[in-house]
Each structure stands twice: as structure tokens, then as C-alpha cells.
């Protein structure tokens, strides 16, 4: 079904130039006596590219068959990443293009969001907050908790983040995957 510019909302998925896109912003622009436009900010869900396009108000776009589903990450077989829908146990395999940079946050059995386009994984997004173990970091500096200093730490999933100096290899940390920011020690 088609959507008119006045129905464009943040989060709406539409087809544009043959690719599924997500609408991020829609600004109505109109000189009092002149033509009305909609300046629309979109994200191409295949390439990740974000850009602005100007439509004449009243133009419409086809909806894209895109849904976002919470899934459990199962394993990586070297070529594909495998995910499972927790209720139906339906499994989906995503290639590296769909997983992209998210791979560095993925831990087996963790929940993440898989965007399906025409039923196939198009994009994988990690949960906003994940708990991951430090695989490697310089030895901790005891008693330095008051100082604001940081050091790099490699997590078991592959991501490298900045952590406070007192943390040790083997500790589990909470991280914001959108910014890569260290949030604190995981409470166990």
C-alpha cells in the first residue's frame, strides 16, 4: 500500500529507488502562497546512507515489507550468522553485509533486533545495552578508582572500548552499543 507525504512518520518503512528505506524526519515546508513540499530525511536500510530528499506534498511512496523482530543470536558458522525467533523457534541466517559492524557486539544467546526485508535479514542491531567479558586489557591499577583515566579493553565479542584503569581481564562490563561507551561493571 502507498503512503502520502502527510502520512510519513519517523520509523515508517518505504521503498525508494528500489531499496527499502526508513523515514527519520519529515518536515513540511510551504511558502504561504506557494507550492508545499516535504523535506524528508531517510535512511537506506541496505547501505545505511542517510540523506534528505524533497517531495512535493501529496506525492506517495510504496510501503516496504520490512519488519523488526527480537531474536536470539545463536552462532556464526564462518559465513553466516544464525538467529532464532524465541517464540516460534524459526531460524534465520544473515550474511556479513546484514550484520556489519554489529558483529563486534554479538554474544551467543543474547537478544538483538533483526530487520527482515521480504522475509530475509537485512540488518542486525544489537540491544542498546549489552554485558560482555573483557578478553584483554592492561593490568588494573588498584586504588585508582577516583581518577578519571581510561585504557583500551578488547571484549570477547571483538569490540574495543575504553574502560576505567582499575578493571581487569575477565571482568564483565555493561556497554552502550550505540556509542561504545562503558556504563559500569555488570551486576552478577
Amino acid at each position: 500500500m502507498g503512503y502520502s507525504t502527510s502520512e510519513f512518520r519517523s520509523g515508517l518503512k518505504v521503498m525508494l529507488d528500489g531499496d527499502p528505506c526508513s523515514i527519520l524526519e519529515n518536515e513540511f515546508v510551504k511558502p504561504g502562497k506557494g507550492q508545499a513540499f516535504n523535506r524528508v530525511r531517510l535512511r537506506n536500510l541496505k547501505s545505511g546512507r542517510v540523506w534528505d530528499r524533497t517531495f512535493k506534498s501529496g506525492e506517495s511512496l510504496e510501503g516496504a515489507d520490512v519488519i523488526e523482530k527480537d531474536m536470539e543470536y545463536l552462532y556464526n558458522d564462518g559465513e553466516f550468522y544464525h538467529f532464532m525467533e524465541p517464540e516460534s523457534f524459526d531460524q534465520h541466517q544473515a550474511d556479513m553485509a546484514a550484520v556489519g559492524d554489529t558483529s563486534k557486539w554479538l554474544k551467543e544467546q543474547d537478544r538483538c533486533v533483526v530487520t527482515l526485508y521480504n522475509g530475509s535479514p537485512l540488518l542486525v542491531t544489537a540491544a542498546n545495552h549489552v554485558e560482555l567479558e573483557i578478553a584483554e586489557t592492561d593490568p588494573g591499577l588498584k586504588g585508582d578508582t577516583a581518577q578519571g583515566g581510561t585504557k583500551p579493553a578488547t571484549l570477547t565479542s571483538g569490540a574495543v572500548i575504553k574502560v576505567p584503569l582499575f578493571l581487569e581481564t575477565g571482568e564483565v562490563v555493561r556497554v552502550d552499543t550505540r556509542t561504545g561507551e562503558y556504563l559500569g561493571r555488570a551486576k552478577d
Binding site: 502527510s6 519529515n26 518536515e27 513540511f28 515546508v29 510551504k30 511558502p31 504561504g32 502562497k33 506557494g34 507550492q35 508545499a36 513540499f37 523535506r39 540523506w51 534528505d52 530528499r53 524533497t54 517531495f55 512535493k56 506534498s57 501529496g58 506525492e59
Partner: protein, 316 residues
């Protein structure tokens, strides 16, 4: 359910009440009479890009919520010749966004004996009384396009307008109407660069005359004696040295009809009572309409129009 709540905070509502009082005091001191005019009319504005909302008032007849008080006010002017203003609601179909709401508050006034430049002085006084203006400027539509884009909007070829517009924004449609491309350039390139002060843009292309007189400028180009007032790049008011010639008015109605046909939008009948009023003698005057909700936004009552309205369209 929490979405029953209003969009405007109490502070914004107090600012609005205070602004209304100041507007009324401003015009009272200048002997401009406040008038009430109907919000419902038997005809609608003919502007090709303004669509009115139908009102189901009675069986077998069509009424419209008025997109501005203009036609009724011009009938009052023709009857009494007095300086008048109206502070009230206006309605426009399919206009909703950060600066638009289908129902909004418009201040409109008419000044017999003024031309648009004298009226700009008065607009400046009114706006300057409620906003701190870092600068006030008057610039012709041509000078503005030459300055910001290096093109003469009256003379540039259509393909040049398209090329400029497409260089500044991603557009995948086409149009053979020069004004559509001028509107793209105005809204996308020029408005954002107008700065924080008050800018009056005047002498519009003849094709955008609406209900303003057309006369030749100093270069011999016919221009519409019309102005727009911008503050901080926001279009705030639109004024005319008003057309008073009924026969020219009838031709403009006809021109709007053919353009509405081309655009595929609903036709509206020419307002015969307006034409009759103009034939009986409408005084030479200048008139202007100012968006009160936008003025409140510029006064700091809110960033989006929904912040200054009790219940914007999305909260109905």
C-alpha cells in the same frame, strides 16, 4: 492515558494572552477598528496552493472554513472605508508540521491610503514592540536571489532554476512552472540564510502577485507590489498594496481556476460578492496578514507550533 494533556505550557498560554492584549492596544492607539468576520463562507480563497476545508452547514449547499478573513474584510472596506483589523482563526487543509497547523491564528489588517512600504513601517513597529530585532532590512526579491544565488529570478531560464534547485536538494520530480522552482530555492536555500533579524522581501514576480497590484519596477520589469516579512528565517507576514480593480480581480480568479485545473485540485467559485464590492469602490489600501502562532514561537513560547497551541492537530 496521558495524551489528553495540552501541548502548550501555562507559560506559553500566558504569553499568548499578553500578546493579544498588546496587539489590541497597538491598534486601539492607532485608531484601527477591530472587526469580527465569519469563519464560514460560501466561497473559498482561489489561491492555487491554498486548499480550504469544507463545512457541512446545511443540506445541498457548500460552505468553507475561511483560509483568511480577506474577502470579508475587503467587503467591509468597500462598505465603510475604515482602517480595520481582525484577530482570529484561519483554516487550511493539509497543512501540518513544525510551523503549520490546519487551524491557526491570523492577525490581518488593512490601511486605506497606505502603500506596502508605509505598511512595512507599521509591521516593523508591531513586531519590534514584542521582539528584540537585531536588524531590520528591506530587500527586493530580485536582489535577494542575486545576492544568495547569483540569479535574476525574473529573467533566469527555467532550466537554470531547475539546475540551481537540484544542486541544493535531492529532487526526483519535474515541473514546468517557474514558480515551483523559485519556491524550492526560496524555502530550501534562501530562508535558512536570512539571519536572526527582520527581513522584508518585496517586489515579487508578477506570477506570484496573488491579490497585489502589479507595476513596473525601476528596471521596467513588472513586479507584484507584495512583501513577506521574515524573522529568523521564519515567514511571519504577507502584505500587499491591494488590487482594487474588480475586472483585474476577475481575471486573477480565472487565472487561478486554470492553474487549479492544471494542478488537479478542487475548483472554487469566484466570489461574486467580493467582485461586486470592488466594483462599488474599494478604497486604495495596503493589507497584511501575520501568523500569530509563529510570532509567539519567535518570542520564545516554543520551538514548534504545537508548543504554542493548546491542542494542535495531532492532539485533537
Amino acid at each position: 492515558m496521558s495524551d489528553w494533556r495540552p501541548g502548550a505550557e501555562l507559560r506559553a498560554m500566558r504569553m499568548r494572552a499578553d500578546l493579544y492584549a498588546r496587539i489590541r492596544a497597538f491598534f486601539h492607539a492607532r485608531n484601527v477598528l477591530e472587526v469580527e468576520v465569519p469563519l464560514i463562507g460560501q466561497t473559498a480563497a482561489s489561491d492555487p496552493h491554498i486548499n480550504s476545508i469544507g463545512a457541512d452547514c446545511a443540506d445541498n449547499s457548500l460552505y468553507y472554513l475561511q483560509s483568511s478573513p480577506e474577502y470579508f474584510m475587503k467587503r467591509l472596506l468597500s462598505a465603510h472605508g475604515e482602517a480595520i483589523y481582525s484577530l482570529g482563526k484561519a483554516f487550511r487543509r493539509e497543512e501540518a508540521g513544525g510551523r503549520h497547523n490546519p487551524e491557526f491564528t491570523m492577525l490581518e489588517w488593512y490601511r486605506p491610503g497606505f502603500d506596502e512600504h508605509v505598511l512595512m513601517d507599521e509591521v516593523e513597529c508591531l513586531i519590534g514592540g514584542v521582539l528584540t530585532l537585531p536588524s531590520v532590512q528591506r530587500v527586493s526579491y530580485r536582489a535577494l536571489f542575486l545576492d544568495k544565488l547569483g540569479i535574476d529570478p525574473h529573467r533566469a531560464e527555467l532550466k537554470e532554476l531547475k539546475r540551481k534547485a537540484r544542486a541544493h536538494t535531492d529532487i526526483h520530480w519535474d515541473d514546468e512552472d517557474r514558480d515551483v522552482w523559485l519556491d524550492v530555492l526560496m524555502t530550501h536555500c534562501i530562508e535558512p540564510s536570512l539571519g536572526a533579524g527582520l527581513v522584508f522581501v518585496h517586489d515579487y514576480p508578477e506570477s506570484q502577485a496573488a491579490l497585489a497590484r502589479v507595476e513596473c519596477d525601476s528596471t521596467g520589469t513588472p513586479v507584484a507590489r507584495r512583501f513577506e516579512a521574515y524573522v529568523g528565517g521564519v515567514e511571519l507576514a504577507n502584505g500587499y498594496w491591494e488590487l482594487t480593480d474588480a475586472e483585474e480581480q476577475a481575471r486573477r480568479f480565472e487565472k487561478d481556476r486554470s492553474q487549479r485545473h492544471r494542478l488537479g485540485v478542487a475548483q472554487v467559485e469566484a466570489d461574486e460578492k467580493l467582485l461586486a464590492a470592488m466594483r462599488s469602490g474599494m478604497p486604495a489600501c495596503a493589507g497584511v496578514a501575520l501568523g500569530v502562532d509563529r510570532l509567539l514561537m519567535l518570542m520564545g513560547a516554543g520551538d514548534r507550533i504545537g508548543d504554542v497551541l493548546s491542542f494542535s492537530f495531532e492532539r485533537l
